[in-house]
Symmetry: C2
């Protein structure tokens, strides 16, 4: 069994995730997160929020998943959010036509070829239905829109769709959000929530599903004046896979720091470089294996309809490279479209540092001349003069100016045009912000963390598997075991369990089977520490055994007779540090040291820390 | 302007919530939580999780919002989840027919009357369309199913629905969840997530919406042996409004402790009483005004199709009583239905304390007699004998026994029936658990907390409004202000902001307008503390001013020159306590004391706490 298969089995057996409604035969593309998985996913979301929203001082919103049709007309999803589908006329199953062509012909990015060409390729390559084996020669190839549709209210007069990305719920509220930001660019708005794509052929477990969770940040920047704080991530090293390397023979990755990547033009947008920097630190913090991780630049044909430039974070999972987040420059596409379709304003007034004086050529025609001369064509003449003044002011230098109205040329005395160059003082201008979007697929990040944390080793001659999850992500923080449920040990262990739960810790009490077996159960779900209540606890000095997940090392920790004593304080402290520390000082209870800031960290020496 | 209207204005202006897609004219029944609202809602969800899941040692899952049709055929929602609708033939708007009848006739619970009777009442009372005023006499009254429908995958062969309650995503996975709980009852499974009801006429802001968030706990209990820990909430006082009081002249509330309510039979199910106890403590902790709060027992006609008994927590909002959570005994309805429809097992094997020996009458007929005698009717004879042995074993006491097959009576010698009473040892039995369900409407709890926290007073001669939110719920934890953005004060304030954000605090930096105006801004969104950096900070001893939201009192807090010093430690400590403390020890930074456990709390004297 491969590690990948072991993980799928573990996911179901221990409650990380499993296909939904298995009792009814399931339904492709929908998964349920079990108790361990739901907690891990939630902890991931908190870690994302902490880094990409709270720490950056951004806002976060929570919009509905159903939105009305006009929103998606404007966003382009109603027309452009399609996959190419082929339906077998024998067995009536539908397939992604471009994927079939790619698999059979070795063509890359078949999606961009169009339905007609794909149909030809299916025929010439005699591609068969993967389900029943019938030839697909005459099967129709069509575009299938990936949005789930529904009707809002009674009747069918108000169609709505489940949002295909959380982003639109932010864009449509831009006016209000800009007010909350007091109309100052740049400002960022994050959202973590469900999004939906009605995939033709869902596959690969939680990696390609029909209902998923996104964590998206929309950063609204001034295209002229906004700049990221590049200095804060200048030295972060990035594994880059730019377009030209993808097209080269060597296909090699390029290792560059953020500042090198910007200076050398590998990454065009400093904003994208900034986010690759903080994302890299974040991915390390949550335990992603940097040797199985890269940033790949989108090839031009791959980009979404809105994207100007895009880099994907990709992780290696079960031998495949999977997109786990995307970093796009969306330009002002979305805001412009929503402004156009809704008629609402999607701009921010940007004041200049100093008011600017500009010279503006303008006309102020004498209508007592133009009226009698041109009659009802006079307004057209005025318009032509205004246009000419703005475009070619030097044309007004002579005595007369020639303009064309409906194909006829007229000479007009410059004197009656009231031409002049006016000085105007301007305080600023209305700007449609550009959007920088770091977009994370939470389920895919989950899959990566889960697989990259998977370890196998041998403890006391026995093979074990464990998840080396950072404590801040671990679904269960501690296991509490009585040596046996007798002589007061069970009671004391239940007291400790209750006391820890009251402090907000997720704790599992377990009194079933040998202690070794109970350790293995917690190891499998990545629980960082286990406490064991034994005879020493109830009859001796009250201390408990504390056992570390990764090293399997054990020490005794003193407790007060009437409560948690030192244990509670130290665990709380650990937990708080784990939760609130920055990525740069990830504190690992399991390795007994703060990896970065060990000098100031009371956990520098575990033994010293645990005994007062 | 009433406080209720002030709040609606505040909600939009300061980013708590607002109707979605206003730029497109909006769409009834959908709201977006703005930056402050999304944070408050998330903090509420965490507080719920802490109390109803983590502390109780329950599991939490995260299932999909779209589920396939068979799930809702089994749950009863496809047939029974309807509202009564009437459509005006003039203006084509749809209305809740039962609500129109209730408003016009004073009839209560018109929903239970049926469409025909409602149609008659509309006609006889000459009810007009609330939209255009046309008489609705001949308008058809129909049942409208409230689920949002969609199609899963291409084509229409796989209908799906957006779940009308989160609960079904738990019930369908019962088999697996029971395994995770090692098949031991009772066990609880919680879920916080979106649910959907395609309301005919959404109204009242976020109180009756089409997309909303539920926090539901499904507790699976053995109907025979499971018992709640009533002692832990025995003395909690409940404001009850039972059925007989609702039907009486006086219509009075009954104040009882949990133990009284159970002993005196006011609440039949001890489980419901237990959850009303912990819910009461929880509602107090999150700042709900207990004088505007009650538990109302459902009248028999009101109960959902699955409910056996139900009590609603109701809060007074803007003069109306609104259901904010429901506590139902669902019996084994859901599990039985899913077992029946899916064919899967939805039982738990419950071992007896001691194996039991039972006597079972049984037959073992002699087929060499019955075969020749009855031919192809022999199996029917065997079946009749088996049935008779189980029902009336004494019938086998004589020489012959008479049985009836297809209306004919036959006498059969008892000797050939092989009748005997067998002793069997049974270790336990398969039980379909019963379900106890505390179900919270997160948006409604939000609306209650928001409205009940609203305060107006006068500070320094100026009227102000503020939200007295518990710090654990406050969307923004601290405001940080430089007196002015000059002489290093802005820089120092930004340093402190960054340092606090790095520790996970949601902090707003504000340098615009007078300090008083900045305090008001934070007061309006319920920020517990504000820090001001002034000349004393940058030129004197480094201390900052710390100002409390509720009392508007100010003290100076010492800081170290190179960081947050005491401030960070004390705020972190406060925050941790706020977040992790139990309801019984709600720590309020703003009132300088731990309200319950003041003896052990370092915040007992704020001044003493802040200066080392």
């Amino acid at each position: 069994m491969t590690d990948h298969n072991r993980l799928t089995e573990l996911a179901t057996r221990r409650g990380f995730y499993f296909p939904t409604a298995g009792a009814y035969g399931g339904v492709a593309g929908f998964y349920t997160y079990g108790p361990q998985g739901a907690a891990l996913k939630r902890n991931l979301e908190s870690a994302w929020r902490e880094r990409f929203v709270t720490r950056e001082g951004h806002m976060e919103v929570d919009g509905p998943t159903i939105m009305p049709e006009p929103v998606f007309e404007a966003s382009g999803h109603l027309d452009g959010f399609d996959d190419t589908m082929i339906e077998c006329s024998e067995c009536e199953t539908s397939h992604r036509a471009d994927h079939l062509v790619e698999d059979e012909t070795g063509i890359e990015d078949a999606e961009s070829l169009g339905t007609e060409r794909i149909g030809e390729l299916v025929a010439t390559h005699e591609i068969a239905c993967p389900n029943c084996g019938a030839l697909l020669v005459d099967a129709p190839v069509s575009e299938f829109n990936l949005m789930f549709g529904t009707n809002i209210g009674p009747g069918s007069s108000a169609p709505g769709y489940l949002r295909p990305e959380t982003a639109q719920a932010i864009f449509v509220e831009f006016g209000r959000l800009a007010e909350y930001a007091r109309n100052q660019l740049p400002f960022g708005v994050g959202q973590i929530g469900k999004a939906y794509r009605n995939e033709i052929s869902p596959r690969r477990g939680i990696v390609r599903v029909r209902e998923f969770t996104q964590a998206e940040l929309e950063l609204f920047v001034s295209p002229e004046t906004s700049e990221p704080d590049l200095a804060s991530v200048a030295d972060v090293s990035l594994t880059l896979y730019p377009i030209d390397e993808q097209r080269s023979e060597g296909r090699e990755y390029v290792e560059k720091t953020v500042s090198e990547a910007v200076e050398e033009g590998t990454i065009e947008s400093p904003w994208i470089a900034y986010y690759l920097g903080i994302a890299t630190e974040w991915y390390e913090r949550i335990g992603v294996d940097t040797d199985r991780f890269r940033y790949r630049q989108h090839l031009p044909g791959e980009r979404a309809h809105y994207a100007v430039d895009c880099w994907d974070a990709e992780a290696e999972l079960g031998g495949n490279w999977i997109e786990v987040s995307g970093f796009s420059t969306r330009g002002n596409y979305d805001l412009s479209r929503h402004a156009e379709r809704s008629g609402g304003s999607m701009t921010v007034f940007e004041p200049y540092d100093e008011p600017r004086t500009i010279e503006r050529p303008a006309v102020d025609p004498d209508m007592s001349y133009l009226g009698p001369e041109f009659g009802d064509r006079a307004p057209a003449v005025v318009e032509a003069l205004e246009e000419r003044a703005a475009r070619e002011p030097e044309a007004f230098d002579g005595e007369e100016i020639e303009i064309e109205i409906d194909g006829e040329t007229h000479a007009i005395p410059v004197a009656v045009t009231g031409f002049d160059v006016i000085e105007e003082t301007i305080a600023g201008e209305n700007v449609t912000p550009h959007v920088i979007e770091p977009s994370f697929g939470v389920d895919r990040v989950f899959a990566t963390v889960f697989e990259h944390a998977f370890r196998r080793d041998t403890v006391e001659g026995e093979e074990r598997t464990y998840l080396e999850l950072p404590p801040e992500l671990a679904p269960t923080f501690a296991g509490v075991f009585p040596l046996m449920d007798r002589d007061g040990m069970g009671e004391r262990a239940r007291e400790i369990t209750a006391a820890l739960r009251e402090r907000g810790f997720a704790v599992e009490y377990d009194d079933s089977g040998s202690i070794g077996r109970r350790y293995r159960r917690q190891d499998e779900i990545g629980t960082p520490v286990c406490l064991t209540v034994d005879y020493e606890t109830v009859e001796g000095n009250g201390s408990v055994t504390l056992r570390d997940r990764d090293s399997a090392a054990q020490i005794r920790v003193p407790m007060s007779a009437d409560g948690l004593g030192e244990l509670g304080a130290v665990l709380s402290d650990t937990w708080t540090r784990t939760r609130s520390h920055a990525a740069s000082s990830t504190f690992r209870v399991c390795s007994f040291r703060c990896r970065i800031c060990s000098a100031s960290c009371p956990g520098a020496n575990w033994a010293g820390c645990w005994s007062p």
